[in-house]
């Protein structure tokens, strides 16, 4: 009888040990599966939002190039009422564009910035209450004219290099759209770029409608057919001036 009881006790302990080991394995498996699930969703989400954010930079470039191509750059000098800031290093001129899908417009609601004023602007660098990230994550009940809440917001700073040379410093923030894969609220990602006006074809950037364009040095003026239309082209190894 004593031998049998001892054997039963030993078997019970072995069963308990086995159950504990099996439970431990079970917990590890469940935990690692949960981590893998979260990681994959986050990878998908970050890919979606990163491309949205990148698209914000490109959409802003297209928006800003529209006027450059007409020879009337969108600047604080030409459109002071639409820009905020005072042009100082600490408070540069800036505007904020809001976008949804292919739509991109100036924020005229005063939500992300106040046109014509030097002060209030949503912080694009960090989070917190009132920041651009917070506004994208929890959109206010404001009609931005986009047909829905903004999916991305772009801060455009006007930076003078010297004289009339300038460039735009662009910060694009995007949030996940309706394909939200994130486990913990929509992800918001940022992308920055400097947009420098350049003139591969001088007529496209700033020379349309001028009185005179002077080519200094050896150059040619002619008609070329590059896009199915007859276009005027100027080429020189010297310099081109305008008035």
């Amino acid at each position: 009888m004593r031998v049998t009881a001892t054997r039963r006790g030993t078997a019970l302990i072995q069963v308990l040990v086995l159950v504990m080991i099996a439970s431990g394995v079970l917990l590890v498996v469940l935990n690692s599966t949960g981590v893998l699930y979260t990681q994959t969703k986050s990878t998908t989400e970050s890919s979606i939002v990163r491309n949205e954010s990148r698209g914000g930079v490109h959409a802003a470039a297209a928006f800003l190039s529209k006027d450059l191509r007409k020879g009337t750059a969108f600047t604080p000098i030409d459109n002071p009422a639409l820009w905020a800031g005072d042009g100082s290093p600490a408070n540069p001129y800036y505007v904020v564009l809001v976008g949804r899908g292919p739509n991109l417009l100036l924020d005229t609601t005063g939500t992300y910035y106040t046109p014509g004023a030097g002060g209030a602007v949503a912080d694009f660098a960090t989070g917190g209450a009132g920041s651009a990230r917070a506004l994208l994550t929890t959109p206010p009940a404001v009609d931005f004219g986009l047909g829905g809440d903004p999916e991305f917001a772009v801060r455009v700073e006007y930076k003078v290099i010297s004289g009339t040379d300038f460039y735009y410093e662009v910060t694009s923030l995007a949030r996940a759209s309706n394909q939200n894969h994130a486990s913990r609220g929509p992800m918001v990602l940022s992308m920055q770029a400097a947009l420098v006006p350049e003139a591969p074809q001088p007529w496209e950037f700033g020379m349309a409608g001028l009185n005179q364009v002077q080519v200094t040095g050896n150059g040619t003026l002619g008609m070329i057919d590059t896009d199915g239309k007859i276009n005027t082209a100027v080429a020189t190894n010297g310099s081109i001036s305008k008035n």
């Binding site: 099996a22 439970s23 698209g55 959409a59 292919p102 590059t226």
Partner: protein, 151 residues
């Protein structure tokens, strides 16, 4: 023995589910990679508008001259194939948009049929696949805006 049986059965079920989830997650990660690759390929193409120009618009097909950006017109909607991964299918959609020309700055943007006049393009890549044993397709959609930097 009863408890042991329950625990072992639970372990087996959990392991099976873990393997299934693992496979599904790998499939989804592969789909994202495919979509990223296709999107990057399209937007890094210098001849973007020419290569993907809509054949239904102006007759843009021209000679293969070196300075000719506008050539090889294709449709704006194309099917994607991924070599050696036939379980995945994809679609590429490119839609040209144009900002209004009358205001400074622009106050509206609308779809246009003229690819040459377009200011920006919406590029969308959709990758679909059927998870093992499922008849319901899963889909990953990546989209971005593209501003062609070659005039």
């Amino acid at each position: 023995m009863g408890i042991l049986t329950v625990v072992l059965v639970g372990l087996a079920v959990a392991m099976t589910n873990a393997v299934t989830v693992n496979r599904l997650m790998k499939e989804q990660a592969d789909a994202v990679t495919f979509a990223e690759g296709a999107l990057s390929y399209v937007v890094s193409n210098k001849d973007f508008r020419g290569t993907y120009a809509d054949v239904n618009v102006v007759a843009l097909a021209k000679s293969g001259a070196a300075n000719n950006v506008w050539q090889l017109p294709f449709t704006s909607q194309r099917s994607l194939e991924f070599a050696n991964y036939t379980a995945y299918t994809g679609d590429l959609t490119i839609i040209p948009y144009q900002f209004d020309d009358t205001n400074t700055p622009p106050t509206a943007v609308a779809q246009t049929a003229d690819w040459l006049a377009a200011d920006s393009f919406e590029v969308q890549v959709t990758v679909s696949w059927f998870p093992n044993g499922s008849t319901i397709a899963k889909t990953i959609v990546l989209r971005t805006q593209y501003f062609p930097q070659t005039p």
